[in-house]
């Protein structure tokens, strides 16, 4: 009898314990894990999961564990918005995180605004999220189109470009990067002229019509934000025309310096490309960064890792710090904590500006060149351009 009683007490205690455990912190994550976007969403989840595992292994945040509720954003704003809404209303997530593509980011941000849930945008770069469409609940830990435009203008000035052809995808990211570049050129190199603006559609596959216009425009620099397979297709179609050999540089904010592009293109990667990336597996800025890269390599099954994990990892770290600082998951507290917060990320300290909720996330920029020991082009020299607009 005693035993049974003891058992019952123990059970009751366990029940109370698990009620306390129900205080798990639920993170609603949205990355594209199917279709064409899975190439980005897969590695992004690797970084996300690493951050969550590390925090939980260290005992969680004030004893509360992080739980990930992941949904597929499908590279589609409508799908992402309805998934975000469901996660808030049905799953009861405490925060929204992720988003890939500017259009998706804007859609999730809208849900966050309506539902009063904090959204940490870890990847989308359209400037609108932290300017015209800014609201108290949205924060951005990735770079943005103004930072990229500024870096591109600095590079144009550095190589002495005079006439620029700008080719950007016809959606929020492309348009905003173009605007960011134009504004930055006025600051850095007012004598540089943009002679051609081209806008292929998102998911375009035939660029010949644009390539021939660039060839005829007589520009010495081509600027672009074509990313992923858009860039691969553009480069493959432009190379036989000799486009890349006839210009000083193709300067891209589309992160085509990342290994997932350069590694896959191998010898076909065109010359004279200067581009950016958040992460280079062959370039560590600190011993901490090196350790992070090794962990990601282990989880990815290859040392030649993608650039996305560092972004999703940083998002989780910012949120965890905010929960710790505010002592809970209430949106008001999180917002207050995030504003002006600085954390140590694998690539150095990052601070979220209190006024526009934008982190000062800079990127590695540099020319892509052939180097001994590599069968594909690598960035050399690597320059970190900080996210400061002067």
């Amino acid at each position: 009898m005693k035993r049974i009683l003891a058992g019952a007490v123990a059970l009751a205690a366990m029940g109370a314990g698990s009620a306390a455990l129900a205080q798990d912190i639920k993170i609603g994550v949205l990355y594209p894990t199917s279709g064409g976007g899975a190439i980005y969403g897969g590695p992004a989840m690797v970084g996300h999961n690493l951050a969550v595992d590390e925090i939980n292994a260290a005992g969680g945040i004030n004893g509360r564990m992080l739980v990930t509720v992941a949904r597929d954003s499908k590279l589609n704003p409508a799908a992402a918005a309805s998934a975000a809404k469901e996660m808030v209303t049905k799953d009861g997530v405490d925060v929204l995180m992720g988003g890939l593509s500017s259009a998706v980011g804007l859609a999730i941000s809208e849900v966050a605004k309506q539902e009063g849930v904090v959204y940490l945008a870890t990847i989308p770069k359209t400037i609108q999220m932290t300017t015209s469409k800014l609201h108290p609940h949205v924060f951005r830990t990735s770079s943005n189109t103004d930072f990229e435009g500024d870096a591109m203008a600095q590079l144009i000035k550095k190589i002495g470009g005079k006439k620029v052809c700008d080719i950007q995808l016809d959606y929020a990211y492309g348009h905003d990067l173009s605007d960011g570049l134009k504004a930055a050129l006025k600051r850095h190199a007012p004598d540089v002229e943009i002679v051609l603006n081209l806008r292929p559609k998102l998911r375009a596959t035939d660029y010949n019509v644009f390539i021939t216009q660039i060839m005829g425009a007589g520009c010495d620099v081509v600027t672009s934000g074509l990313w992923g397979s858009h860039f691969v297709d553009f480069a493959q179609q432009a190379s036989p025309f000799g486009l890349f050999n006839n210009i000083k540089a193709y300067i891209s904010g589309g992160e085509v310096a990342s290994h997932e592009i350069a590694g896959k293109m191998g010898e076909d990667y065109p010359p004279n490309v200067i581009s950016n990336t958040y992460e280079l597996w062959y370039h560590a800025v600190s011993p901490n960064h090196k350790v992070f890269q090794e962990k990601i390599a282990e989880k990815s099954g290859t040392k030649e890792t993608a650039m996305w994990p560092v972004l999703s990892y940083t998002g989780v770290r910012f949120y965890a710090e905010a929960v710790m600082k505010s002592g809970g998951t209430k949106s008001e507290g999180i917002i207050k904590a995030l504003e002006g917060m600085t954390i140590d990320t694998p690539v150095g300290p990052r601070t979220i500006n209190a006024a526009d909720h934008q982190a000062n996330t800079g990127q590695f920029w540099g020319p892509m060149v052939n180097k001994d020991g590599f069968s594909y082009k690598v960035m050399d020299p690597v320059t970190f351009i900080p996210a400061v607009i002067k």
């Binding site: 190439i39 375009a204 035939d206 216009q213 036989p240 191998g266």
Partner: protein, 309 residues
Amino acid sequence: MLDLIREFSPGLAILLTNPQFAFIQLLNSISQGMNLFIIAAGLSLIFGVLKVINFAHGVFYMFGAYVVHTVFMDWGAPFWVGAIASALALGVIAAIIERTLFRQIYEAEHLMQLLLTFAIVLIMGDLAKVIWGTEQYSVSYPASLKGATDLGITSYPSYRLMLCVIGPLILIALYWFAERTRWGRMTKAATQDREMLAALGINVPLIYTSVFILGSALAGFGGALAAPFSSPVPGMDATLIVECFVIVIVGGLGSLWGTFVGALLYGLVFNFGSVIYPNGQDVFAYLLLLVVLLIRPWGLYGKPEAGGH
């Protein structure tokens, strides 16, 4: 006058004043159209005989692009071996699908057929991810077609010129097959009266299988040809299948010549439209579709349907 045109459309002004530029746009149109023709011809052929609108045609094209990557880039075989391997691989896949699945739905209503082909899109899309992963690949040009060819007035990428040649060659080959061979005549007869053909002791199901194999092999071959400039990546079929439908509807479903003309028109309208009015790139192709549907709903070379099915 020219200033006025320049005001309205800088692209049009360049087209009018620079014949070299206009010529390049013409070649862009033809080469794009010919690649699309090869793929759309398969779609049109399958509809013409089997009367099935095969949504999975785009995913066959995607498989073609992946197979050429594996055979040419990974295994190091010559590019053309890879392209033929793509056609063969899709032929085999098509044979299996036709024998096991399509055979069940020839008599079913169109909605059932659409659902089945759509299911194949989803299943094969996921299968591609299992086999090749989710990253985009890059396929090199075959060494002999890497650069540009000097045409006198301008030089133009050799590979795209090859597309301008291979498209008409495939048109002629298909025409010859359809008109000059016993197989072609039987196929034609099968589209008109399959019961009568069966009564004559001809193996109609075999004709259906062979048509589906040929049509799908064209999708695979077209995908292989596209791979060097359209990187194999999940979802690459989505844009293409829409382009193919525009082409076969403009040309007339089931008509070989119609598909050829439709593909050329698509290339011309897309390329010249994009130069003249850059903001309307996609609109022009759909305008073409709209105009044709209004004037000749059965397509340029199609035949009006004589009283329901």
